[in-house]
């Protein structure tokens, strides 16, 4: 176990960062989010092809890179730092992991297609779903009857760029071609990762897992790695704020020389130091868990809950300080920081709120709730 970045991880980071600097500067994201296609399909192809991002977590025998949660976390830090509108988290992490965890034949076929980046997938569950409260088999939003799926799922992330939807229905996980479902993008708080309503009206589904355990694993992995995306968002906010307050003058001084601001930024920096340690720890524990099916599960669950309980609030705090310390310019649509604030606030809800993860820790760390009165 190490909380540092390996050399391979640093190289991966550099490659992603270079590509994003080139293809996805904040101005480009700002222009894209109001276009008809908020997700950047070309950039996603480039990430899949040049970096192998789409197949990062897919075993090598299925054409993937066979990398671990640690490497995926590094990619997410960079995607967060650039609020990149690509479906890496939703397809290459969450949907992919549900299929990897299942290991069923149909799942393996799909993984081979996902590894190249030609096919993109999404989990058809609300992005607000936490790993701790799965849809129960009987009360799920979608019903399956003889391989035909019917129902409606709201707030699905990454659905409009998915070719395949991975759908929990009647206690089983199905793959459904997106063309057989109706996907309607909702007006979303996060402009760079809008959510959609997905409706199935007797859509044909192919079973990819016999129960919902793979869904739970995918949500846990997603939650754990979301912390790295949140770290990336927070880092951009801190870095951008530091640059601004060093340059912006009021009262004939850089505003960053005013002590009240310096102290707030020092505190924020420490939150990020803690966030980086927590996010790395979650990635590391998830990577170790995958290697060791028997032990490690409790350790990973705790690491994920800690990272989510901390990093979600840190990203929001960083975005809020970024806005406040930019003053008026931070309230304008023209400055990209609102994209980060909206991402940070949506990420705080995604895959369980911080308090949902703290509640999980009450169980995991043995801090029981008050007795009922």
């Amino acid at each position: 176990m190490t909380l540092l970045y390996s050399e391979v991880e640093e190289e991966l980071r550099a490659a992603v960062r270079d590509l994003l600097a080139d293809r996805c500067p904040p101005s480009a994201v700002l222009a894209r989010v109001e276009s008809a296609s908020p997700y950047d399909a070309d950039l996603w192809k480039a990430l899949a092809r040049d970096i192998g991002a789409a197949g990062l977590l897919i075993p090598e025998d299925l054409g993937g890179a066979g990398a671990s949660a640690r490497e995926a976390a590094v990619v997410l830090e960079e995607l967060g730092r650039a609020v990149t509108p690509v479906p890496f988290l939703t397809s290459a992490v969450m949907a992919t992991w549900a299929l990897v965890d299942s290991g069923a034949g149909e799942a393996r076929d799909l993984l081979a297609a996902l590894a190249t980046g030609e096919t993109t997938a999404a989990l058809a569950v609300s992005f607000a779903t936490s790993p701790y409260a799965l849809p129960s088999p009987t009360a799920g939003a979608v019903r399956a009857e003889r391989g035909r799926l019917t129902g409606r799922v709201t707030a699905v992330a990454g659905a409009e760029v998915a070719d395949v939807l991975i759908v929990p229905a009647s206690g089983v996980l199905y793959a459904v071609d997106a063309t057989d479902a109706s996907v309607e993008t909702a007006t979303s708080l996060d402009l760079t990762r809008p959510v959609a309503t997905v409706t199935f009206a007797g859509a044909p589904g192919r079973p990819v897992a016999a129960d919902l355990a793979p869904l739970r694993a995918a949500l846990e992995l997603g939650a754990g790695l979301l912390a790295s995306e949140q770290l990336g968002v927070a880092e951009w906010c801190l870095t951008t704020t530091l640059a601004y307050v060093k340059e912006r003058h009021q009262f004939a001084r850089p505003v960053g020389s005013f002590q009240a601001l310096k102290h707030r930024l020092a505190d924020l920096w420490m939150e990020l130091v803690q966030a980086r340690a927590a996010a790395r720890n979650a990635a590391d524990a998830l990577a170790a868990r995958a290697d060791d099916e028997t032990g490690g599960a409790a350790e990973a669950a705790m690491a994920v809950a800690v990272a989510q309980a901390w990093c979600g609030e840190v990203a929001v705090h960083a975005a809020e300080e970024c806005l406040q310390l930019h003053g008026g310019i931070g309230m304008t649509w023209e400055h990209p920081l609102h994209l980060y604030m909206k991402r940070a606030k949506a990420d705080e809800i995604a895959l369980g709120t911080p308090s949902g993860h703290r509640d999980a820790l009450a169980r995991l760390a043995g801090l029981p709730a008050p007795l009922a009165p």
Binding site: A186, L191, A252, A260, L323, M331, A346, A369
Partner: protein, 401 residues
């Protein structure tokens, strides 16, 4: 003149005002007089703002008798305070304090009736908290001033007939001494108003570009070089106008959150409950502080609590609206409308939680950032020493930017 006024204010008491309103209503039936005419007549009767001098919409009466007028005239045509906030709250007291008699006569009546809307050209992209560093130039040419520069965060500029404007007239002296205050003609050539889109999607404010705008010298308010002092009057009135608490317990943004809390038991968690209870208490003690502040103002011992109220409201609105988005979980991932359009008001109640969350971020920036307000409290209320200044005796043009 001053003596006359003092005498008058002694004679105007509650009974006199009620009598005056009765006489006014006898002459101007609100049921039959069209609103503009009714308001013009009300102004001429001295019932616009009773503490203003006679002839300028007032009676030279004590300010706290205004509520008598408002009570007596309830149900008659009223002002559109939203659009007129800057005219009533900021321009009018400044014109009264610094305008010539001609300026007062010319501007105050249509300002009060709402026939002429006002806006404010103070902030600039480079001059926010440090307003005195502003760079918009006004250069004298004969009997006119030629104005060039860029102003920002101007609400209502697209409706406005007039603006209050501060511009630099002497870059060779230290920043506070080289400014002059003008009334800007918003219909003059060279005034270009562009909507400024905000993070909420809409445009509540404008950028105003001033290019070779020519203003006659009789639109100058106060002496040349005295703009900072004139602007202080405007800003003091602004802060008084902003620091208003909801007078109802549980009102304001808190009300929208508690309503959701009561209506949607499935959203409740212990974390949210504890945070909501804390915010409820904070809102209530802030409301009580506001009640106490208004009592102090009425009792003639104005306290320095005003800046603190704005600080507290900004914090509450931000914390409550952030909590609300989180409380709604999946619904918090949605937004009601990103359309780029003009908006005249801050609609905390008609719009969705995402809008409230984003819009409330501006509460700690607009009208004095929370950082500036804390400086004001620390230095002017608590008497803490100023920080070392590096911009006091430096000509404006030599300041680092």
């Amino acid at each position: 003149m001053p003596d006359d006024r003092r005498d008058l204010s002694v004679t105007v008491d509650e009974a006199a005002i009620k009598e005056r309103v009765r006489a006014f209503l006898a002459r101007n039936d609100p049921a039959t007089t069209p609103p503009p005419g009714f308001l013009r007549a009300r102004f001429d009767a001295g019932l616009a703002w009773v503490h203003f001098p006679e002839g300028l919409g007032g009676l030279g009466a004590p300010r706290d008798l205004q509520h008598v007028v408002e009570a007596e005239l309830a149900g008659t045509p009223q002002l559109d305070f939203g659009k007129m906030a800057i005219g009533l709250g900021m321009a009018a007291p400044t014109i009264l304090a610094f305008g010539t008699e001609e300026q007062k006569k010319r501007f105050l009546r249509p300002l009060w009736t709402g026939e002429e809307i006002w806006c404010q050209l103070f902030s600039e992209p480079g001059a926010g908290s440090d307003l005195a560093t502003l760079a918009t130039r006004a250069v004298r040419e004969g009997g006119e001033w030629v104005v060039d520069g860029q102003k920002v965060w101007t609400s209502g500029a697209h409706h406005a007939r007039w603006a209050i404007l501060v511009a630099r007239t002497d870059p060779d002296v230290p920043k506070h001494r080289g400014m002059t205050y003008f009334v800007c003609d918003m219909h003059a050539p060279g005034v270009d108003v562009r909507p400024l889109r905000q993070i909420t999607g809409e445009a509540e404010f404008n950028e105003v570009f001033l290019t070779g705008v020519r203003l006659p010298d009789d639109l100058r308010l106060g002496e040349v070089g005295d703009g900072w002092r004139v602007a202080q009057t405007t800003l003091m009135n602004e802060r008084v106008a902003i620091g208003g608490a909801p007078s109802r317990r549980g009102g304001g943004v808190l009300g929208t959150v508690t309503e959701t809390w009561r209506r949607r038991p499935e959203l409740r968690t212990h974390d949210l409950h504890q945070r909501l209870l804390r915010l409820w208490v904070e809102a209530e003690v802030t409301r009580l502080a506001g009640v106490r502040l208004r009592e102090q103002l009425a009792a003639g011992t104005p306290g320095p609590e005003g800046s603190g109220m704005k600080l507290a409201f900004a914090h509450l609105n931000q914390a409550l609206s952030g909590l609300e988005v989180e409380m709604r979980r999946e619904e918090g991932l949605l937004y009601d409308d990103w359309t780029f359009r003009r908006s005249e008001t801050v609609d905390f109640f008609g719009r969705g939680p995402g809008y409230r969350y984003l819009r409330a971020k501006g509460n700690s920036i607009e009208g004095g950032t929370s950082e500036i307000l804390r400086n004001i409290i620390a230095e002017r209320v608590l008497g803490l020493p100023a920080e070392p200044r590096v911009d006091k005796n430096v000509p404006w043009k030599e300041l680092p930017r």
